[in-house]
Symmetry: C2
Subunit: 556 residues, 2 copies
């Protein structure tokens, strides 16, 4: 029997190509899934054949009921499709007017309103994926959801969250069908993530093929004949050396996907919104550095570095493939706890008391870290301002005072030869301090700004931990609720065992993540502090050097 798929969204094929237009809800017969780059070939009810994005359809299982019930309301894809800013390559002169007005405000990549572009789409598609999962007989899902919401709001909301997605309630249990044992998906071996024991600790299995990605100097690109311009960052992964160009909104979209999918893993933050002033070169460079921090953390993370959406983000160079991958990521049904279906953990069941102890300790630690990294980022911002403002101008005042003395003395030159040497030495001293002032102005970009960028990263990660802990705690609460249901004979022993088993997996994931953060920061902070101190030493050595040269100009 031939496989049938149902179109999830409308797709308009390019006329005069092998592409075929499909309409949301339409049933198609699959002909070939071996086209590559995210394309499938199929035949519609009218007998026409052609290519369409694989991500735009879902396979229809034989036992499935009428497909119309599951189809999500069509997201505003006409609009969303435009958010891949490269479409000016195909936009002719005659239609830039439409596109330009349509694009209004889109280039304010760093403004909050960017979020509304993509927001509602994935949110709806996520519900669409989760909803049709059949509840277990006699299980009051809505009741459970209510409980979880209560718990999470008291547990997780005390610490300020850095989550930016205003549509996603930060600590709602996402993907609870996994926990309840109703999600059963075959995960290919290649997608499985292992958690291993290392000494007393549990760790994510290390990345088999470590790689890194450089975020290169941003380019100011423009479209619509220069009417619109935007900043694109050039990313080059070490595994293929193929550069891709990404705008902030692409990072932002990626970030939303990651936060949605990995509710037990803190997602590193994107550049600080406080860094304002779009085309100021220094600020663009700061964002690059903070994006590099984001990318570095992603690359070093055993789970995140291998995620499909990240790989898509890193490698896709083609607009159509990008759209297809985008749709696919947005209809990912392994979100939240559901993601844990991909995990393979040690046989041994964790002791709840041990888990409780670790999470409690983590909670206390993260609270303390949170205020510490916040004060560090503030300190770095303040010191940067001090160096560039008063420190610089103080030095220059010292320099000007000496320089003016030299000028005054030169009014009385000519009769005593030695005065001339003194006068010029005093002027040089003035010049040296003015120069040191400039050094102060330049210096933060070598020490306090990178330090601040690093602690911006930590602020984001540390600030996400309360949500992670809340998500885990909500799962534990749900497990307890299931125990109650079992005690009331409302749940089968076998199903409760499955809940226990899966809860155990969730706890392993949390412990592995806590440990990952610990080992990462140990290496990272050590390097960070050394780099900072070395830069400070270099700076003060340069000051000493400058003063020593100045001193030599005076008659000994």
């Amino acid at each position: 029997m031939s496989t049938q798929v149902q179109a999830l969204y409308d797709f308009t094929g390019e006329p005069g190509t092998t592409e075929m237009s499909i309409t949301s809800g339409e049933i198609l017969t699959l002909i070939n899934t071996d086209i590559g780059e995210g394309w499938w070939e199929g035949r519609n009810s009218r007998g026409e054949t052609g290519l369409f994005p694989a991500a735009y359809v879902r396979k229809v299982t034989p036992d499935e009921s009428a497909p119309t019930k599951m189809a999500p309301p069509a997201p505003r894809y006409d609009q969303a499709a435009d958010d891949w800013g490269d479409h000016q390559y195909s936009a002719g002169d005659n239609n830039y007017q439409r596109a330009a007005s349509h694009d209004e405000g889109w280039d304010d990549d760093w403004e909050d309103d960017t979020y509304s572009e993509i927001g509602p789409g994935p949110q709806q598609s996520k519900q669409a994926v989760n909803q049709p999962l059949t509840p277990l007989p006699g299980m009051p899902i809505s009741d459970l959801n209510h409980q979880i919401d209560d718990n999470s709001s008291t547990f997780g909301s005390s610490v300020g969250t850095v989550r930016k997605n205003k549509f996603a309630p930060s600590s709602k249990v996402s993907g609870e069908s996994y926990l309840l044992g109703t999600l059963n998906v075959e995960v290919p071996d290649s997608d499985k993530i292992y958690i291993e024991q290392e000494g007393d600790a549990y760790i994510w299995s290390p990345i088999p093929q470590p790689y890194n990605v450089t975020v290169a100097s941003p380019k100011k690109e423009s479209k619509f004949k220069g009417i619109k311009s935007f900043i694109a960052y050039q990313l080059t992964p070490s595994f293929n050396n193929i550069q891709v160009s990404r705008r902030y909104k692409h990072f932002d979209w990626l970030h939303e996907r990651l936060q949605e999918k990995f509710t037990l893993i803190p997602i590193p933050p994107l550049p600080d919104k406080q860094i304002s002033g779009r085309y100021d070169e220094q600020l663009i460079e700061r964002r690059r550095v903070q994006l590099q921090e984001f990318v570095d953390w992603m690359c070093k993370h055993p789970v995140l570095s291998r995620s499909e959406v990240w790989q898509h983000f890193l490698t896709c160079t083609d607009e159509k493939r990008w759209k297809a991958g985008k749709r696919q990521a947005e209809r990912d049904n392994l979100l939240g706890l559901n993601y844990c279906i991909s995990l393979v953990v040690p046989e041994k069941a964790l002791l709840q008391s041990q888990v409780d102890h670790i999470t409690e300790q983590c909670h206390i630690f993260m609270n303390s870290m949170d205020s510490s990294v916040k004060s560090l980022t503030n300190m770095c911002i303040a010191q940067t301002k001090r160096f560039q403002g008063p420190y610089k101008s103080d030095c220059q005042k010292v320099g000007e005072a000496f320089y003016n003395l030299g000028n005054a003395l030169s009014l009385d030159e000519g009769t005593i030869v030695s005065t001339s040497k003194l006068t010029s030495a005093i002027k040089m001293a003035g010049g040296a301090y003015i120069e040191i002032g400039r050094m102060y102005e330049e210096q933060p970009k070598y020490d306090f700004e990178p330090l601040g960028d690093k602690f911006h990263l930590y602020k984001g990660i540390v600030g996400s931990f309360p949500d992670v802990l809340a998500n885990h705690k909500a799962a534990v609460q749900k497990k307890k609720e299931c125990e109650r249901l079992r005690a009331e004979n409302k749940m089968e022993r076998e199903q409760l065992n499955e809940v226990f088993r899966r809860n155990n997996v969730i706890s392993y994931a949390l412990l592995a993540e806590i440990n990952h953060f610990k080992s990462e920061r140990t290496v990272d902070l050590n390097a960070t502090m050394q780099k900072f101190l070395k830069q400070q030493i270099t700076f003060y050595k340069k000051v000493v050097e400058k003063l020593e040269v100045t001193l030599q100009h005076f008659e000994q």
Copy 2:
């Protein structure tokens, strides 16, 4: 014929000693002038003999008219005599009550009201010395005075004066009898001051026996059983190694005498009145340093270093002698231009055009120097505050941020051994920055404060130059007036020649002083700048060292 003297002031001899009371106006016959320490022996009209202070009398010349006309109104010496604060040594327990009330407010040495203690006395005595000098036939002295006042007020008052003596009009020609040729005093060879030619320049003949004087750590002394306390500085001249104790008001008295006497020589300034807070140790030390600057400048000056009042100030250890020397200084009749009678200058007459050029250049130079040294002293004060305030607290904020990070990390210690080393290194980094903050607080006393003290000295000297130039210019104007008188046949050719000759001496004195300032500052500023730069280098090297030690605590 025995020499007769006339008492200028009342003096009450100590009963039961060899001292004899004398009354202002009384004629005495000199018996012995070889008593020493400022005492003479004489006989009064009643045949009584005894000692009295030589400074209290003046020799009566045979051709002198009735002495009563010359006697100055008796200054309030009862009060003034008390300003030598050591009289508690003789004051018994039974009379400290009187002395204490009498002394009310006198220990506010650093306040302005101290000046009123000695003020009126010398001013009146100066007039007394000048007035009886007979005007030349047909010479309208009052007319000349009027002219000089006019000139000096337009020439000399434009630049802010640092003269503190509110009784002395700053640019009135003091001692004009010298210029007009009416002052004829035999100056002993030992008191003569020579001006020599050195290349193109004229210089004060170098000090034959250079010496220095150390101003030692001030002591807080008290009198009247601790009811009154004051700060006394210990001065030790290198030529006798005998320490004398001087309070601020003694310095202040000395300063007034010097300003009165040397109107062609800028007198170095006393400590800044802005340094307030009497018994704060740091401030007392600051005053000591500024007094040392004053003393150093005095010692290095070929004229000032040899002046009688200065020598008296440096060497007198006895209360009676102090008083006698004090009176003598206060009735010194070689004040202002009259002082020039002691000068011996090269034969060659100076060209007025040359002198005009030099004084004009000096005027421009001093104007520029004045604003330069003022901005330097302000800069030093500002930098001192910055180091002790924001620089210190900024460093400590950096330190605290690191320290708190270390504290936060230590909450999560125990499972990974290496964390512990990192945590302690981060805490150490915190400690290092807090320590560097303390170094910033300490630092100004090694660099910006001494630099400020040095420029306080220059501010005073440079600020006095406009008066010096005005005094010289007034003399030149007077010379021109004499030329007019001669043209109108109101002055003899011979007398005009004497005016020319003496004006030439005055110009030599100015040139010598301009040159002295130039050569002194050349050496001095060179040393000052080097000392400052070396201290700055030392400081930043210490910062580097501290950071390098800190860096070593991190795992390499």
